[in-house]
Symmetry: C2
Subunit: 344 residues, 2 copies
């Protein structure tokens, strides 16, 4: 098992990425190829893990980096020697089994799409983001940003892939799939949702449980929730912004609340830290890009060593459990792909 | 000034609605017509405000009610004597100046659309929901559920109406308008967003500040954020669900955290209560349905007396400031309505 890790992608690259690789090398039985600037990576390794040459970690040099703000398609086409492109190519060439990046999400997705190609029967790959729920589990939201204009059949493909992923990787026997919508009834929603509902209902390989309203996602009523990438991305970023705003407001309130509030916060801290740990999704790893011919894990830009370490474990598990073959087999079992309803 | 209040709409109707009307009657200089079941309303009034007959409150009987789960269009057409339909008709007939309901949102919007009609130049009315921000202000999100399939020109009309509302009602001189999107650049987003961006940019009556990512909404970087009603509704409900889940998880953590955590929480409570008050949007009232020929305020289903009281003040202010004439005047100043781009 060999995982190609984009060492240059992410807000804290290469430091945290290398630190995550070191953690994973010590914990898990897999080889890790750090792809990126040889000098920088080596420096981090020498400093933090002097004996790294005897470990399962190796370096594969790549001279270029795709920046966070760059246009994914353009960058991937032009920067042939960027860490993400080189890392993905290692998978295509069979030199690695999976690729992992915390860098420019679009660039990671575009690299995987261009270099690895799509699974037969999947029109568009989809990003499945794990969202922490009140039940201590996660809900997979897909697509969370790969395809901003989706047809009903793309949502059905997401449902199938998300369902397989939840079975293989989250250990769920019969994951409950929901369609993100603005009401419970089958007739609710925009044209896209209305056309998608009956198609999802007719699918044989998923356990479709009807519409999921926005409020049903954080409660954990569904294991897999499908939507188009525009909605998914907006919702995820909104939730992230909201959580951050709430935390900073709470901190401000404590600071302004005088000695009593400060002391209270201090006493409460262990309980809140435990809560933070319970809803921390970093142990679930990153978001898999499902639908490409290979394992591609996209981690959050702000990933720390722990998150990268989890994502490496996740990538290794993804390959071991052969999620891609499972997707291929299930695509063949469905008959809905040909008769898609056109949505204006 | 006369406000028609749907006394039967809302999770806590008629009790909290009547209580809110009593609060408003004592505080503000406006007449309130409680529309709904005479017996029930009178009972609440007699119990909580024995001298109500000498106040500015009156009752207008309506024999029927539209339930929360009913199909809006169907219910409004069939239930001619439902409280929301009767209340809206009072505005149409010039007997009241505004209508307010905490009941079935779709039914309130459908009543307003069918009975009051659209403002000339507005194709579709839009619901503007105030969202609390980290700055202690609100961001108006529209449309938050009236139109699930929008064309670019509908988003532009929402931008214009939201901007006018923010000027008149929130006292902002030059409200910053954003387009909800998945990235900052003009070229980002789905077809709808890409077509809408240049149109918003060419508008003369708004201060368009570019794309607003999901995370920019709770931070308060924009005063008005436009999106289609599907996205808006999903985002709002998701945020609501997330906030509720976080609060319930925090409570659970405190309960499980032992005596220290419980004591800490107790000491922290005053500071948190103040924070809760700071971000409580109920003082901003409900969400106006903008674009109809009349003032229609839609309050949250869970509205309590305080929220209803605020919404009554808001309705009265809306009429006094003549928001509708302002919208009409500004629509005439724009030239973009004719050359809308078709979105597939």
């Amino acid at each position: 098992m060999k995982i190609a890790v984009d060492a240059m992608g992410g807000d804290f690259a290469p430091k945290e990425i290398v630190a995550g690789a070191i953690l994973a090398a010590k914990r898990y039985d897999c080889e890790i190829v750090l792809v990126g600037d040889q000098t920088q990576i080596q420096k981090e390794l020498d400093k933090n893990y002097p004996e790294w040459r005897k470990s399962t970690i190796s370096i594969h040099h790549a001279s270029d980096v795709v920046g966070m703000g760059e246009h994914p398609g353009v960058a991937v086409r032009r920067k042939k020697d960027s860490s993400i492109v080189v890392a993905t190519r290692l998978v295509k060439e069979g030199k690695c089994d999976a690729v992992l990046s915390a860098g420019n999400t679009g660039a990671a997705a575009a690299s995987a799409l261009f270099i690895l190609g799509r699974i037969k029967g999947i029109d568009r790959p989809s990003i499945a983001t794990p969202i922490p729920t009140g039940k201590g589990s996660v809900t997979l939201l897909l697509d969370s940003g790969a395809n901003v204009d989706c047809k009903p059949k793309h949502l059905c493909q997401s449902a199938l892939m998300g369902s397989i992923y939840a079975k293989c990787m989250l250990g769920l026997e019969n994951p409950a799939v929901g369609l993100l919508n603005i009401g419970e009834e089958a007739t609710k929603g925009n044209e896209q949702a209305q056309a998608t509902y009956p198609m999802l209902k007719s699918m044989k390989t998923i356990n479709f449980k009807g519409n999921a309203e926005g409020r049903d996602v954080p409660t954990g009523q569904f294991d897999v929730v499908v939507c188009d990438g525009f909605v998914g991305n907006v919702v995820l970023k909104f939730a992230e912004g909201l959580a951050k705003t709430l935390v900073s407001l709470a901190k401000e309130a404590i600071n302004k609340g005088g000695i009593l509030a400060k002391l209270g916060a201090l006493m409460l801290m262990p309980a809140l830290k435990k809560l933070g740990k319970d809803i921390d999704v970093s142990e679930y790893g990153g978001a898999p890009l499902l639908g490409v011919n290979g394992c591609c894990i996209i981690s959050h830009g702000s990933s720390n060593a722990k998150a990268i370490c989890s994502a490496i474990r996740q990538a290794s598990e993804f390959v071991q459990k052969d999620v891609i073959t499972q997707i291929r087999d299930n695509i063949d079992k469905e008959e809905i792909w040909s008769h898609d309803t056109e949505v204006k």
